[in-house]
């Protein structure tokens, strides 16, 4: 892999019958970048992200994740990415440790590695005390951070986060973003969708999707200048109008 | 209030009607079941295959075998040569009866010497074994009568039986009422319990409960469309039964439909009750399927005669299995053409069960809210 890009997308399109959910989007994400993928609900964010992680086949266009083709090599991509969905799919009826072990297990980590990872995650997230509690009993903010940690249990190059901070208060969101920075500092690429415009400010670059198309793509600073806005919120309103 | 309620029922109805797969199943199951029962399932034994161990191999033994074959009840599988061969047919399961004809059959038969024809039946299926032995015995006796030209006994009491209400003993007459009772109970109970637990699992139940409608109306709103669909199901099965399988409808149609409606409401109440107990769809499912399916089939008198059950089970069957009464009502109204006063007890019991179930459901429901 000698390209400086973790994600390269060229005219990627998804159609459901006559409806075009994602309309020829094109962008590149550099390694180690925090890339914000913004858009209103129903703009096509989730469909786009599903194509990138190999859950959905693109109708047209090309996409490369970690150097692998999204259309033909989805299984290779899966070894190199982590994914945390809106529903952050933890098993409610398993304990914290059991969840970590299960996902570590199906990524094919060795027993020793799983043990290491388990202590590491428990300590980092300060979950050691509740390690044997069922996930269902944890507060939402803890579940989110645990889901995030678990999505990276196999040390992937790229992490996809689909609306990771839905439904929690600003303080917890702030905490979550600190974790994202830590991850990016370690050289991982973070691809994050959100509809909180304040979060967009934390990203290195953002794209804004409207009705299946990417309407703007730049650093938050440049976008604000371009649209003569004081906040990302304004930028978004001007675009979506 | 009524307007909101109507809107709510409409919303539920749309939900159901949009779900094509569920609809197909909802109407497909009863149709397939009735057709299967009507066409394929029968308790009569036709063409049973038998082996014959013929030690005699003379003219008379061959005539006897032919006589038995020509009756239409039996087909000859194999003529065996030694006793050791008997068991293999049983073990394979393709023969249910072996007739053993003794040596010197011809001469003993006509020479008035005592002789024994042995019938060995596979007793693993007691009903079949019994019936086949009876058939064969009768055939051997008629063979004897023909060949020996026995004189008719002048001092004979003849017994004539008249099968009332079902002169040709058509099995559909028995199965159609049972099928209606069975299918309505399971489908209605399953549908409601699933629909309600589903909302619980998805968390939408809470949203509904904080709406201005009182909880009872919400539940009613959820259940009304299912009541409608189940009732249509009942009518569908009745139509097939009447027009395809010619099950008569001697009594009042209105009485019959009212009873169907009462039964549907009872089944839905059962569903509501299950859903107040169950937390997940899986749980509701297992309860209504594992818990209701076999007991309804077996304890209601649908397949096995009610009086054959041990006393204790008859009591259980009559206390907790509503299908028992509904089958009775259906048979009474459809086949015997009786009026309201003859089924009033059954109707009262069904009504009582409905009230008890609803009361229990309501009680559980309230506790949950507090």
């Amino acid at each position: 892999m000698n390209t400086p890009f973790a994600i390269e997308v060229d005219k990627l399109t998804k159609r459901f019958g006559d409806f075009i959910a994602v309309n020829a989007i094109t962008f590149k994400v550099k390694k180690g970048e925090i890339f914000g993928f913004l858009g209103a609900n129903g703009a096509g964010k989730t469909t786009a992200i599903k194509m990138l992680i190999g859950l959905s086949k693109p109708t047209e266009g090309m996409g490369k994740i970690a150097g692998f083709n999204v259309d033909t090599e989805p299984e290779k991509i899966k070894k190199n990415i982590g994914y945390m969905s809106q529903k952050f799919s933890l098993y409610d009826d398993l304990t914290v440790v059991e969840n970590i072990q299960f996902y570590g297990g199906i990524y094919g980590l060795s027993r020793k590695k799983i043990k290491e990872k388990t202590t590491e995650i428990l300590e980092e997230l300060e979950l050691t005390e509740v390690s044997k509690s069922l996930v269902i009993s944890l507060p939402l903010g803890w579940k989110q951070r645990l889901a995030f940690a678990i999505s990276m249990v196999h040390d992937p190059e790229i992490v996809f986060l689909d609306e990771p901070t839905g439904g929690v208060d600003p303080r917890v969101r702030r905490q979550f973003w600190e974790t994202i920075y830590q991850v990016a500092e370690k050289g991982r690429t973070v691809f994050v969708t959100t509809h909180y415009m304040d979060e967009a400010e934390y990203c290195d670059r953002v794209s804004i999707m409207v009705a299946g198309k990417i309407e703007a793509l730049d650093t938050p600073h440049n976008l604000k200048q371009q649209f003569e806005a004081t906040s990302m919120d304004e930028v978004f309103l001007k675009l979506a109008r | 209030m009524f307007k909101i309620f109507k809107a709510f029922v409409k919303k539920e109805l749309y939900h159901i009607i949009r779900d094509k797969r569920t609809l197909i199943i909802l109407f497909g199951i009863p149709i397939v079941q009735v057709l299967l029962f009507g066409y394929a399932v029968s308790t009569e034994f036709k063409d049973a295959s038998i082996d014959v161990l013929d030690y005699a191999k003379d003219e008379t033994s061959i005539q006897l075998i032919q006589h038995i074959q020509s009756s239409g009840h039996f087909t000859l599988n194999k003529v065996l040569t030694s006793e050791a061969d008997i068991e293999s047919g049983f073990k394979e399961g393709n023969v249910a009866l072996v007739m053993v004809i003794p040596k010197d059959f011809s001469s003993d038969f006509y020479g008035n010497n005592p002789l024994t024809i042995q019938l060995i039946a596979d007793g693993s299926d007691p009903n079949k074994a019994n019936t086949l032995v009876q058939y064969t015995t009768r055939l051997i006796q008629s063979f004897q009568k023909n060949k020996l030209q026995q004189i008719e006994n002048p001092f004979l009491i003849t017994v004539e039986d008249r099968m009332l209400y079902n002169p040709q003993l058509i099995s559909a007459y028995n199965f159609i009422p049972g099928t209606i009772a069975f299918i309505l109970l399971i489908i209605s109970a399953m549908l409601t319990s699933l629909a309600i637990t589903r909302e619980k699992e998805l968390g939408t139940m809470e949203i509904l409960l904080v709406s201005p409608l009182p909880p009872l109306l919400i539940i009613l709103g959820k259940v009304t469309p299912y009541a409608l669909l189940s009732f249509i199901d009942a009518i569908l099965v009745l139509i097939i039964g009447h027009f395809v399988f010619k099950v008569p409808l001697l009594g009042s149609l209105i009485l019959l439909l009212l009873c169907c409606l009462l039964y549907v409401i009872l089944a839905l109440s059962l569903g509501i009750f299950i859903s107040t107990k169950a937390k997940t769809q899986q749980q509701a499912m297992l309860t209504s399927m594992m818990g209701l399916m076999l007991p309804t089939m077996i304890l209601s008198g649908f397949i096995f005669p009610f009086s054959s059950m041990p006393q204790v089970l008859q009591v259980i069957g009559s206390i907790v299995v509503p299908a028992t009464y509904f089958i009775e009502i259906l048979k009474a109204v459809m086949l015997r053409g009786v009026g309201f006063q003859s089924v009033v007890i059954e109707i009262a019991i069904l009504l009582g069960m409905t009230i008890v179930l609803l009361a229990l459901a309501l009680k559980n429901f309230k506790i949950r809210l507090e």
Partner: protein
């Protein structure tokens, strides 16, 4: 291989932790097995009759007594009027009305062959046929005695020289529980495993966890196998407990090789689970899954030979049962347990079940799509 162990471990933890489901998988089926095996019987133990004696002679009264004395017959009422007796049929309080005609005794003595009429309530099929059979037998034996009594020295015909002896192998006392318990057990096992497997994958889809699994490099077969094995274990445990319970309570015969039976059971459960997973793949919601599963279960049960014999179905329907795993399961458990059939005797069941298992599971793996 290691990966598989993790999935299996996870499924087991989830199953055992679910306190509400656990008793339904263990206690409920066993209770049903015990209760229902007792109830499922075609033996008619009680027939309610009304006697209309229009003769009121000594003979008719003797016949009357004979009928009442039979322990399978209960006299509900006596009446002098057929129309009144008819009412009992109408109300379903009586199964049969026996009508002894006027001049019964006189006609008999004069060789005029009097006719007794049975009005049978045929709305309960089995009861009707068997009940009238009982009464005919009683009348016949009454007739035989009467001949000797009324005309002692008559020799109508020579005594029949042929005796017909009947023997019932494998179940000399013709116990219904021996026949029903293995069948009901097979049915419960199949029912439970198909419900569990049909709901499982859909549930993960509804909750959303399946998406997380789909973004892992997990192979399709690992996923399907990881789901199959825990349910297979549950099915086998249920079947084992059921066999033990049937042995202890009903003393069912175990003539055949248990290893053979368990080998077949394993194959059969795999086939049924494959079908369950297949259904699960095609359903969007648990509700749909369960309805599809229910649809199959109904057909399987009705055409399994559990309640009504397969032999008496029309040919086309008999051929359809080849695709019914439950029919094979019931047939094998009855054959092996009651008759001690060996592998060669159940080779067809093995073959058909193997083909079904292959088709169902093949389709389940094929139709499970990690990618849409």
């Amino acid at each position: 291989m290691n990966i598989l162990a993790y999935i299996i471990q996870k499924e087991f933890i989830q199953i055992i932790r679910n306190k509400a489901i656990l008793p339904m998988m263990t206690v409920l089926p066993i209770v049903q097995l015990i209760v229902l095996s007792n109830a499922a019987s075609n033996e008619v133990k009680n027939v309610n009759v009304v006697v209309v004696d229009m003769d009121q002679s000594e003979s008719s009264r003797t016949l009357n007594h004979k009928i009442i004395a039979n322990d399978r017959i209960t006299l509900v009422a006596t009446s002098f009027n057929t129309n009144e007796a008819y009412f009992y049929l109408q109300e379903n309080t009586s199964d049969i009305v026996i009508e002894i005609p006027p001049n019964f005794e006189n006609d008999y003595i004069n060789g005029k062959q009097p006719k007794i009429q049975l009005l049978v309530n045929a709305t309960n099929g089995q009861q009707a046929i068997v009940g009238s059979g009982y009464l005919k037998a009683i009348v016949a034996s009454f007739n035989a005695k009467l001949i000797q009594k009324v005309i002692p020295d008559i020799s109508i015909s020579k005594q029949s020289n042929t005796t017909i002896s009947s023997r019932y192998w494998y179940n000399p006392e013709l116990k219904y529980t021996h026949f029903m318990a293995p069948g009901i057990l097979a049915q419960l096992t199949a029912l439970l495993t198909i419900i569990l497997s049909a709901m499982n994958v859909v549930r993960e889809r509804e909750v959303g966890t399946i998406e997380q699994i789909n973004v892992t490099p997990l192979k399709k077969w690992q996923f399907i196998l990881g789901k199959l094995i825990p349910f297979l274990c549950i099915g086998l445990v249920l079947f084992t407990v059921g066999i033990i319970a049937s042995k202890l309570i009903f003393n069912i015969p175990i003539l055949g090789n248990l290893l053979l039976l368990f080998g077949y059971t394993t194959l059969n459960i795999i086939a049924v689970l494959g079908l369950g997973l297949l259904i699960s793949n095609f359903a969007d919601t648990q509700q749909q899954a369960i309805f599809i599963a229910f649809f199959f279960i109904i057909i399987f049960v009705l055409m399994s030979g559990l309640f009504t014999p397969i032999d008496s179905m029309p040919k086309w329907a008999q051929q359809l049962t080849i695709g019914n795993p439950l029919a094979h399961f019931i047939s094998v458990s009855r054959k092996v347990l009651m008759k001690g059939s060996g592998f060669w005797n159940i080779r067809f069941e093995f073959l058909y079940t193997f083909i079904l298992a292959f088709i169902f599971n093949g389709l389940a793996v094929w139709s499970y799509k990690k990618q849409v």
